[in-house]
């Protein structure tokens, strides 16, 4: 379980995250939703130590992340950000191999190679594993980065808007893979999402942020309600039940 305790972050004088306390259960997909500037990405960055919190602490399975060694933490929690600019030219396989760095420090043994093979196969990239990243489409590249995180083999996988710039097909593909990671491999996935319908269909729990505070936190069915959404987004959003999915019809509200 990840326990976030009274986490705050100031940018200049602006409080982007304010006293956030939230528990994230194991073996579930938890989505962070909310309007732009609500502090979702900042919160995720602080949980994953990419950003230092001004106050508060993060406990992972009851251990304070500040007290964990960087290398130990990287075997338990992985984070994937929106933009992954790189100065070097890598093939898919080389990138995924980097996922084993916390274990092998760059010298891959047989087990590491096996994990890399599995991760590549899991993301359906085996045929193009020797292709260079800059030759790939956005969806393929995103899959390659997720494969790296899978090779990293952490209990907790944090993703910051992984569906950005992806078309419907690839978005669905990636969400299905994340669902499989949780259901088949027992991972815990925390994801920042913009499209509430993806959050509604795929997540177990939703944490809604607004102006740096948690305004809603609960199982998906409780959050995907017109009243709750009104509070989060200031919009009247009717909800339709279709094929066992709760779909928010926000386009003309």
């Amino acid at each position: 379980m990840i326990q976030v305790r009274e986490l705050s972050k100031l940018y200049g004088k602006k409080q982007v995250v304010e006293n956030v306390t939230v528990d994230i259960q194991r073996g579930q997909i938890t989505s962070f939703i909310g309007p732009n500037g609500a502090g979702k990405s900042t919160l995720l960055s602080m949980v994953s130590r990419l950003l230092d919190a001004d106050t508060g602490e993060v406990l992972i399975d009851s251990t304070n992340t500040k007290k964990m060694k960087s290398n130990e933490l990287s075997k338990r929690v992985s984070i994937l950000k929106q933009s992954n600019f790189m100065n070097v030219r890598l093939t898919i396989r080389e990138l995924v191999s980097f996922g084993r760095f916390p274990y092998s420090k760059g010298r891959l043994n047989d087990e590491d190679e096996k994990m890399v093979d599995q991760a590549i196969a899991y993301m359906d990239l085996a045929e193009m594993e020797h292709a260079y990243l800059d030759e790939l489409s956005g969806g393929q590249r995103q899959r390659a980065f997720i494969a790296m995180v899978i090779a990293q083999d952490t209990d907790y996988v944090l993703l910051d808007e992984p569906l950005n710039n992806l078309d419907m097909k690839h978005s669905v593909q990636i969400m299905k893979i994340l669902r499989r990671l949780v259901d088949e491999l027992g991972k815990t996935v925390i994801i920042v999402l913009h499209d509430i319908n993806f959050a509604s269909v795929y997540s177990d729990r939703i944490v809604a942020l607004k102006n740096g505070r948690v305004v809603k936190d609960g199982p998906t069915e409780e959050i995907i309600q017109s009243a709750a959404l009104k509070e989060i987004y200031d919009m009247d959003i009717p909800i339709q039940q279709m094929n066992n999915c709760r779909i928010c019809v926000y386009f003309n509200s």
Partner: protein, 316 residues
């Protein structure tokens, strides 16, 4: 394995260059010419190693392939120090006349400057690295302006001595200093070599490096200080030559097309030895000392730099 072949070819070429430099036209002068040439080759190899290593590492931590560590202003500080010594103490003072004293003074000034500089910057929390570079440029320009100002006031004869210090030269390298530099450079690089795999991860960017458990901020600090010290040693030994690193680092990237620092660093080191020794031979035999190596380096380096800029702008 293709990398290994390329590396072997480069090493063979570098050794051949050293052999030609040492033995060409020696006329059996084993007692006189050979030891003198040997010291020069030794100095060139050391300088090559220090500059190549510092530049590749510096480019990795700044995520930029057209920067050199000279942007930190160390070369300018070296020139300012030399100018100040001659301006206030005169060219016959021990700090200029005695190479050892000058060497120690120069290194001390550059290392203390670098440490103070980083200390004040890092104390204010984690500043973005570009902020640090920007301040480096300002300091460099500041030092350069003061040097120029003093050089204009100086006696023309004294200015000759300053001018000698302005260009890197292997022609009167002191053998004691070479040994001292050898120890410093070898010890530093031997300790740093184990970080090669972490440097590979660093080139994936800060977020990915942190995700993979690399202690980003402390590694960047360590490597910045390391490259500053290496540059200081090389500059104090032969003079300002940092621009040279830009060429060899980029040649190594182009030649090896690898992301592995163990390959890139070794490649850059061998290329720089080849270029320095080969270049010095050309200067001595073909130009018969009518020009200096650093003039040629700046000429070729400048052209290559423009080529890199054009190539980068086309890629965007």
């Amino acid at each position: 394995m293709r990398d290994l072949h390329k590396m072997l070819i480069l090493v063979a070429l570098a050794l051949a260059a050293c052999g030609v430099y040492l033995f060409h036209d020696l006329n059996g002068s084993f007692d006189y010419a050979l030891p003198r040439r040997g010291i020069k080759v030794f100095a060139m190899v050391l300088t090559g190693i220090a500059i190549a290593y510092a530049t590749v590492v510096f480019q990795t931590i700044t995520h930029n392939r057209i920067l050199t560590p000279s942007i930190m202003g160390l070369d300018s500080l070296y020139m300012l120090l030399q100018t100040l010594l001659i301006f206030f103490l005169g060219s016959d003072h021990i700090s200029i006349m005695n190479r050892q004293v000058n060497f120690i003074l120069s290194i001390a000034a550059m290392v203390i400057f670098a440490l103070l500089f980083y200390h004040f910057l890092f104390k204010k929390g984690n500043q973005p690295i570009y902020f640090l570079l920007l301040i480096g440029i300002i300091f460099g320009t500041f030092f350069g302006s003061i040097s120029t100002f003093l050089q204009v006031l100086i006696d023309p004869n004294e200015f000759q001595i300053v001018q000698d210090q302005m260009f890197a030269s292997f022609n009167n390298v002191n053998s004691d200093l070479v040994w001292l530099s050898l120890i410093v450079i070898v010890v530093l690089i031997a300790f740093a070599w184990k970080h090669n795999a972490s440097l590979d991860v660093l080139s994936l960017g800060r977020d990915t490096a942190l995700n993979l458990g690399v202690n980003y901020d402390s590694l960047v600090r360590y490597m910045l200080i390391l490259s500053a010290v290496l540059i200081a040693v090389a500059t104090a030994l032969v003079g300002p030559i940092t621009f040279f690193g830009l060429i060899v680092a980029n040649l190594s990237y182009q030649f090896f097309k690898s992301y592995k620092h163990s390959v890139l660093l070794l490649g850059a080191i061998v290329i720089s030895v080849l270029a320095l020794v080969g270049g010095q031979w050309v200067v001595e035999r073909l130009f018969t000392f009518n020009t200096t190596l650093s003039v040629i380096i700046n000429f070729i380096g400048g052209i290559y730099f423009i080529y890199l800029l054009l190539k980068e702008s086309r890629a965007k």
